[in-house]
């Protein structure tokens, strides 16, 4: 298996946590992994992205090629579109539909949705709303991850194990909130 994933969002929305969870599950399978992150100036409320590469074979480049990504996994709708040049023709966009509006000239959200819907393989849904409904409002990122795991080729059990390993030190309540978020996202993805 080989998966190249662009994770997208705005600084502070939790894309690196998504990367860590997928990465933990991939390592447990004995896969190779490379993960390029954005640090520094760009994190101050600006757009952020991470290139996450998983493969059964050795991986060379830290960066995904343009046209090489199997998935854009985004916690913000406009940010999903920013990385469209990376997506391959059969690739998936899986994104939160709730805008993170910290700029004066944020475009009409319907224009953003119609661009996302023009990509044949897409999942566009209000992850923030779902996270609130299941009383896991800080786990919106995990809801988005849940919607993606089928297309990433991971089982629910594998991702749950990774979540338990990563959040264990934060206490059972946080682990459970994230598991609920994952399950709610999986329901959307199926």
């Amino acid at each position: 298996m080989k998966k190249d994933i662009i994770l997208a969002g705005v600084g502070g929305q939790g894309i690196l946590t998504i990367a860590t969870i997928i990465g933990t599950a991939a390592l447990k399978r004995g896969m190779h992994l490379k993960q390029a992150e954005v640090h520094g100036m760009s994190q101050r409320g600006g757009d952020v992205q991470s290139h996450l590469r998983l493969s059964d074979e050795a991986i060379w480049s830290d960066l995904i090629s343009f046209g090489g990504a199997d998935m854009i996994l985004s916690v913000e709708p406009m940010e999903a579109l920013r990385y469209l040049p990376y997506l391959n023709a059969e690739g998936w966009i899986i994104t939160n539909a709730v805008p993170f509006n910290n700029i004066a000239n944020y475009p009409d959200v319907e224009d953003i949705y119609s661009e996302i819907k023009s990509i044949p393989n897409h999942v566009l849904f209000e992850a923030d709303t779902i996270a609130k409904e299941i009383k896991a409002s800080r786990s919106m990122n995990i809801v988005v991850l849940g919607a993606a795991i089928k297309h990433l080729g991971f089982t629910q059990a594998e991702i749950e194990d990774a979540i338990r390993a990563i959040f264990a030190r934060k206490g059972e309540a946080i682990v459970e909130a994230n598991i609920r978020a994952l399950q709610a996202g999986i329901a959307i993805g199926n």
Binding site: G40, D62, F66, L81, A89
Partner: protein, 531 residues
């Protein structure tokens, strides 16, 4: 041992720890910061020097001192930090090392978080010392061991050059058994670190004599490789650092048809480069950064008998970092660029955080300056540089660390009024003090605003050497006590803040204003930790 998932920065740090280092010296700077942050988190590093230095020059000098004492040590900085440390760095090539001395510099091609994209390999060549340029995280780790050995074998400092995509990318790294630290041992030759002209001339001769040894080391380096056998000799490829990965990415699953030379240790092994040139009809140079290898190969008298392609002739972009697609195009392969970014997508530049103390300080400063119009505020590098963005549009310059104060001074010397400097508290500790002393010496008519958020903000909240001492430092340097003004930048204090700015603008002399309120990011983190 199991593989650890480490950033390139972290792999270098772990490598240095396992290779028996005794002290790390650094000032934060993207993309190098995570080297020291990793060490500060590491239990293994207890008892090893790992606190931040005031700036890159003091860091480099401290590392030279530790090397003098026989211990292994490393100075770490971003590329422009090496400009600050250039004086001790260049001279360390003459003094040489006693204990292993590594200088780790993280370059930022494409300027993700920097004001230029200078290539530190030029500094290494300038200083005539060996350069190591890892191409992956494992090499970052291994090069710490190798670098210390090389440094101690020839008694020279060794430059390790990282770039953003390696510094900030994570992959599996396999550790070796740690080795113990060196004991204290003063140099055998007590003239070694004495660069008086008569000694320095001998040192330079010695460094010149070592050049051939360095080339031989590159020729047999485990990090360089020479694949001369290939089916297609129309092109020979030289890759440096990360470019080697992009080449392999492009040909993944297929055999590379051309001869390939991988360079991760410099100076260039010239015999092998000649062999490649003689064997092939043309050369393609793939390097992450500026065209250092390409320029060396072409030289001024290059007649173009055989074409050498690279960044200089437009085969690759002259600026910016490489990626697999740029490399594919340079090889004449099709580009796989996906759909273009839809026009509806707008930019989302970095900005001051909601609730940032700097935003209140800037809004009040703008108000105080209304009657003078724009073009009076000099600034430099830090979170506060984002005061350039709307709605603040508050600053008019960003050149280098500390330049706010000295540029304001120069403008004031010319008669420009008012001349305001805006500098962060950590940047003031880095290189503001000497500029302030210049202002006091000349009684310059400047207002220096030290935006005190009590941390090094832009790089993620590191502590710094002048914390809690700003008023004492300013008074000690000679600023009159009644012209050191402190306020808390909150909206509710707006009238008082504007009034203080106006009063100090009206004063003909050196004023220091310190708006003091903790960074909202570090505050948030503290609250989280306290639960």
């Amino acid at each position: 041992m199991d593989a650890l998932m480490l950033l390139g920065d972290e792999a270098l740090a772990q490598g240095a720890l396992d290779a028996g280092i005794s002290g790390f010296y650094a000032y934060p700077g993207t993309p190098s910061t995570e080297i020291m942050e990793y060490v500060q988190r590491s239990k293994q590093a207890e008892g090893i020097h790992r606190t931040w230095s005031s700036n890159e020059k003091t860091a480099m000098e401290s590392a030279i001192g530790m090397s003098f004492a026989g211990k292994r040590t490393m100075a770490m900085m971003k590329h422009v930090g090496l400009n600050v440390a250039a004086d001790p760095f260049m001279n360390s090539a003459f003094t040489g090392a006693n204990g292993g001395l590594l200088v780790a510099v993280a370059d930022d091609p494409s300027m993700h978080s920097s004001q230029n994209e200078q290539d530190s390999r030029f500094y290494g060549k300038f200083a005539m010392i060996p350069i190591l340029e890892p191409s992956n995280q494992q090499e970052c780790y291994d090069m710490a061991f190798y670098g210390f050995e090389l440094s101690e074998k020839y008694k020279v400092p060794v430059l390790i050059r990282l770039t953003t995509r390696l510094s900030h990318s994570r992959a599996g790294v396999v550790r070796r058994a740690p080795i113990s630290q060196n004991g204290l041992k003063t140099p055998d030759d007590l003239f070694q670190f004495m660069l008086l002209p008569a000694i320095a001339r001998k040192k330079y001769q010695h460094l010149i004599e070592l050049q051939n040894d360095f080339v031989c080391e590159s020729a047999k380096s485990p990090f360089n490789s020479f694949q001369f056998e290939a089916k297609d000799l129309s092109k020979g490829i030289i890759c440096t650092g990360l470019a080697y990965n992009y080449l392999n990415e492009v040909f993944q699953g297929k055999e590379i048809p051309y001869p390939v030379v991988k360079i991760c240790q410099y100076p260039l092994p010239n015999e092998q480069i000649h062999e490649l040139y003689n064997k092939c009809d043309s050369l393609l140079i793939l390097e992450e950064g500026m065209p250092l290898v390409e320029e060396q190969l072409k030289g001024l008298a290059f007649t173009g008998m055989k074409p050498i392609h690279g960044r200089l002739d437009g085969t690759l972009t002259r600026d910016g970092e490489l990626n697999p697609n740029k490399v594919a195009k340079a090889l004449g392969l099709p580009d796989t660029y996906g759909k273009p970014i839809p026009a509806v997508v707008t930019g989302r530049p970095p900005m001051l955080c909601v609730g940032c103390p700097h935003s209140d300080s800037y809004l009040a400063l703008n108000e105080a300056l209304t009657e003078y119009g724009r073009g009076h505020v000099f600034s430099d590098i830090g979170c506060y540089t984002l005061g350039f963005m709307p709605p603040y549009n508050a600053i008019n310059s960003c050149v280098d660390m500390g330049a706010s104060i000295t540029m304001a001074k120069g403008a004031a010397d010319s008669g420009h009024f008012p001349a305001i400097a805006v500098i962060g508290d950590s940047t003031f500790a880095h290189s503001g003090l000497t500029g302030l002393l210049d202002c006091i010496f000349d009684k310059s008519n400047v207002v220096i605003v030290i935006l005190d958020n009590s941390t090094t903000g832009m790089t993620g909240g590191q502590d710094y050497t002048a914390f809690g001492k700003l008023e004492d430092i300013c008074a000690g340097l000679g600023v009159e006590k009644e012209h050191i003004r402190v306020f808390v930048p909150f909206k509710k204090n707006f009238p008082e803040m504007v009034q203080i700015y106006k009063e100090e603008i009206a004063y003909n002399g050196v004023s220091v204003i310190i708006p003091r309120r903790e960074c909202v990011q570090t505050l948030k983190r503290k609250h989280k930790m306290e639960g």
